[in-house]
């Protein structure tokens, strides 16, 4: 062999592992077992070394000592080889052992995929992982003898930019959410992934969220998880950690989650919450889920009838409540009793100086916290409401929004995405 063939644009990992390791003169020294990459940097992870077998001993070969890599093997830059045992450095993973054949998060499709092949390319002066093959071809290549296999082109290529591997089984690496890839997903998508993954993989995602500094995101993901998974992932965590998540959750979702625990644990968690949150959640816990009190959210905007539409809009802008709770502001009259809600659209449409009192068209029948669900649904349908106030002893205690009613009214089979006989 006098000259090396021109390097092909993409190399397949399994076409390199198992090939011979040669010294600078081309004499075989041993075998290439695995490739080591460093994760964590932005961009395509670079190859930092090789795991090779020389004289039946497994050793580490740093990438600086390699002159050539190809399907014909790995060649050293010198004739000499100093062998060191392999120790993982932080962030390093073995491609074949830790990534190939395992689950990965496809961030673009928000689903779990399996790497049938790992694709390498020479980018900006280094060999890097550029993507994985999740298609059938990648798998077929590995099943066929090498001579036939190398003719098979890449099938379902997935760029590394849209891939996040699970690395929980690797002691030195942790999945991190500060990594922009996971944070790109919607909380509901992250929740779907957690539900689809095995427990330890789900745990890995949840832990990554916990270590990131986006508390809201973590709480949002918990809100989107189904009951079973909520409990599954929250059970093992300390009360303080749970309390931290709960404070960032919507009060009614937090109440639903707390209801899953026994009295002792629930009280312990409640005790760690800020007083305001605690009172809200505790009052929600007392209501039946099939009644107005169980459907309502304790967060709303309540204003005096004397104020103007402009004031109300300013109030809405200032509020950090989620938008579904801001579909209407509620108005109380001189007697302090709640009159009705004024839809936000109405506030925009009217003259800025109009008083809220003048915008209330008619008094609504009062909803008590123990009003049955049918009454709530009927009232909201009859009066075309997107939000209805719940009143206890003349004091407004919560607002029911249309999305809560809609959720409760979903027929059994519809809640799950699939199945006629499906249940919750």
């Amino acid at each position: 062999m006098d000259s090396a063939p021109p390097a092909p644009p993409i190399l397949h990992l399994t076409m390199i592992t198992g090939t011979p390791l040669r010294d600078g003169d081309g004499a075989p020294l041993g075998k290439v077992n695995d490739l080591i990459v460093r994760l964590g940097d932005v961009g395509y992870p670079p190859i930092t070394g090789y795991l090779v077998t020389v004289a039946r001993r497994s050793s580490f070969l740093p990438v600086e000592r390699v002159a050539h890599m190809g399907t014909d093997g790995v060649t050293l830059d010198k004739a000499k080889l100093d062998l060191r045992p392999f120790h993982r450095r932080p962030g390093e993973v073995l491609l074949r052992r830790d990534v190939l054949d395992r689950q990965l998060i496809n961030v673009d499709g928000a689903r779990l995929v399996r790497a049938n092949e790992i694709e390498l390319a020479h980018v900006t002066g280094e060999w890097r992982v550029v993507g994985v093959d999740t298609g059938a071809r990648g798998g077929l290549r590995r099943l066929l003898p090498r001579v036939l296999g190398r003719r098979i082109q890449t099938g379902g290529f997935l760029d590394w930019a849209s891939v996040e591997p699970f690395v929980g089984h690797v002691p030195t690496v942790r999945l991190s959410v500060s990594h922009p890839k996971l944070a790109k997903l919607h909380p509901a998508q992250i929740a779907d992934l957690v539900e689809a993954a095995s427990h330890s993989e789900g745990e890995e995602i949840i832990r990554a969220l916990g270590e990131g500094d986006d508390r809201e995101l973590e709480a949002d993901v918990y809100e989107e998880l189904d009951d079973q998974h909520q409990v599954e992932f929250i059970e093992d965590r300390s009360d303080a950690e749970v309390a931290r998540v709960l404070t960032h959750m919507e009060a009614d979702d937090a109440a639903d989650l707390l209801a899953e625990f026994d009295d002792e644990r629930r009280e312990a968690m409640l005790a760690l919450l800020p007083a305001r949150e605690r009172t809200k959640i505790r009052s929600l816990l007392g209501y039946d889920a099939a009644e107005a009190g169980g459907l309502m959210s304790p967060d709303f905007i309540l204003l005096s009838a004397e104020l103007t539409a402009d004031d109300a809009l300013r109030e809405i802008r200032r509020s950090d409540l989620p938008h579904e709770l801001l579909g209407a502001v509620f108005v109380y009259g001189e007697d302090g009793e709640v009159d009705a809600g004024v839809p936000t659209v109405e506030l925009i449409r009217c003259a800025p100086q109009a008083t809220l009192g003048s915008l209330v068209e008619h008094d609504l029948p009062r909803l008590a916290p123990d009003a049955p669900f049918e009454e709530v649904a009927r009232l909201m349908a009859d009066f075309n409401l997107t939000a209805a106030p719940v009143v206890l002893d003349g004091r407004m205690v919560g607002a029911i929004t249309v999305d809560d009613v809609l959720e409760a009214m979903l027929p059994k089979g519809w809640r799950r995405r699939f199945g006629l006989l499906g249940e919750d």
Partner: protein, 437 residues
């Protein structure tokens, strides 16, 4: 503050008013009944699916040929099955991954593709024999195969593809009710219970080749690879938490015991009737039912028919599921009972295709079920030792199971079981292919 209404009353009230039933926020999560019902799960289903048409034929053969003479070995086989199933359940709970998935992650694509291919081949074969079994059971009542097979196929398909995992599991548990036909048949056959007890504790071993062959064939039909594959994947789909590990293992063990007690009753029933009347040659489960009629009366035929029907129908459902789980897991496709075609195309097509193929082949008149089962036996016999070896190693692996890997004692027991079962398996393959023993 509103008065809290006790949940049962609320439920009744809700029912009367036609209100959507919403779970109360503060309802007790689990009742004792639920815990008890938790014992009836995938473990029971997996092991009982093994009492399908081929199994019943083998057990009937054992009873007809040697009376109670081989009952003692059911004890050994039960122990082995219980250990193996327990390990599979344990891995399912702890890792949240199917066996095929773990094999691929730890031992590479080639092994998992090898296992998958053998599972597909063997399971299609068993599935055909079970559609034949369902048809034969109703055939005893005069219903033609051309009616039974399509109906059974459609029914099973609907349960799997249109239901959810929970609803399917519930239906499968109902499928185990017909198994009670066998104990009843055994009791009505008036066996000499003293002799039955004696042959269980005091093994009398013959050394003729027929006896040995029947022994290993029985072991082969009782411990089949799809049981572990189904059990582990079903537990994953159930989403069992580690705290419920004990339950799931209890389910696996009790399921194995229940299945083999039923199998023993088949041996007792045929031993008390066919053996004592000198009917020694039985070729299929329906054969056994027919042969029972002149010696034990019409009721025996009906009971055997009912048992065969339920057992085969259960297997007709479990085999396509187990196969599709394995294919989806090892090749990395979406899976899940009740998923639609758009969500898990490979999984659903696999189930549909397998039911369709098995159903159509079963309708071919004069299909050689016996030779089919022999071929299946060989494939399963090759696969089982490999499967068991992986289960044994994976369950003990620190990397896979973490602190819940099997301890030295259980690992030792598992090792012996795997070795023993694999040996029988290899013997069976040798006997079928090369005709030795």
């Amino acid at each position: 503050m509103p008065v809290r209404v006790p949940p049962p009353i609320r439920r009744v009230r809700a029912g009367l008013r036609g209100r959507p039933r919403l779970p109360a926020r503060l309802s007790p999560r689990r009742s004792r009944l639920f815990l008890l019902l938790g014992l009836l799960g995938p473990g029971l289903i997996a092991a009982n699916a093994g009492n399908e048409a081929g199994g019943i034929a083998t057990y009937s053969q054992v009873g007809a040929k040697y009376g109670y003479g081989l009952l003692w070995m059911m004890v050994i086989i039960t122990l082995s099955l219980a250990v193996v199933q327990m390990l599979a359940a344990r891995m399912g709970v702890v890792t949240g991954k199917g066996l095929a998935e773990l094999i691929r992650e730890e031992y590479g694509l080639r092994w998992s593709v090898f296992a998958t291919t053998s599972v597909v081949v063997a399971n299609v074969g068993i599935c055909i024999s079970d559609f034949v079994g369902v048809s034969a059971a109703l055939g005893l009542a005069g219903v033609p195969t051309q009616v039974t097979a399509p109906l059974a196929g459609l029914g099973v398909w609907l349960i799997i593809v249109r239901g959810s995992y929970k609803s399917a599991e519930r239906v499968f548990i109902w499928f185990t009710i017909p198994f009670f036909a066998y104990p009843i048949a055994a009791i009505l056959a008036h066996p000499h219970w003293g002799a039955v007890g004696h042959s269980i504790i005091a093994p009398h071993i013959h050394t003729n080749s027929q006896y040995l062959l029947l022994f290993i064939a029985t072991a082969g039909t009782t411990i089949t690879p799809y049981m572990q594959l189904y059990l582990q994947s079903a537990i994953v789909e159930r989403g069992t938490r580690v705290e419920e590990l004990g339950h799931e293992q209890a389910d696996a063990v009790s399921g194995a015991i229940f299945a083999n007690v039923i199998a023993s009753f088949i041996i007792i029933a045929t031993g008390a009737t066919l053996f004592t009347h000198g009917v020694h040659s039985i070729h299929s489960a329906a054969d056994a039912a027919r042969a029972l009629r002149p010696v034990a009366g019409r009721y025996a035929e009906v009971l055997f028919g009912v048992g065969l029907f339920g057992a085969s129908l259960l297997a007709c459902a479990i085999l396509p599921i187990a196969t599709s789980y394995v294919v989806a897991e090892s090749l990395g496709y979406e899976k899940g009972i009740g998923r639609g075609r758009s969500e898990a195309p490979v999984f659903v097509s696999m189930i549909t295709g397998m039911i369709g193929v098995a159903m159509i082949v079963a309708m071919i008149p004069g299909i050689p079920v016996i030779s089919l089962l022999v071929a299946v036996q060989v494939v399963n016999g090759v696969l089982l030792p490999i499967n068991l070896f992986f289960i044994w190693r994976l369950a003990h692996s620190e990397e896979v199971m973490g602190p819940r890997r099997t301890g030295p004692a259980l690992n030792g027991v598992a090792g012996v079981t795997v070795l023993f079962t694999s040996m029988l398996s290899v013997l069976l393959v040798g006997a079928t292919v090369f005709g030795f023993v």
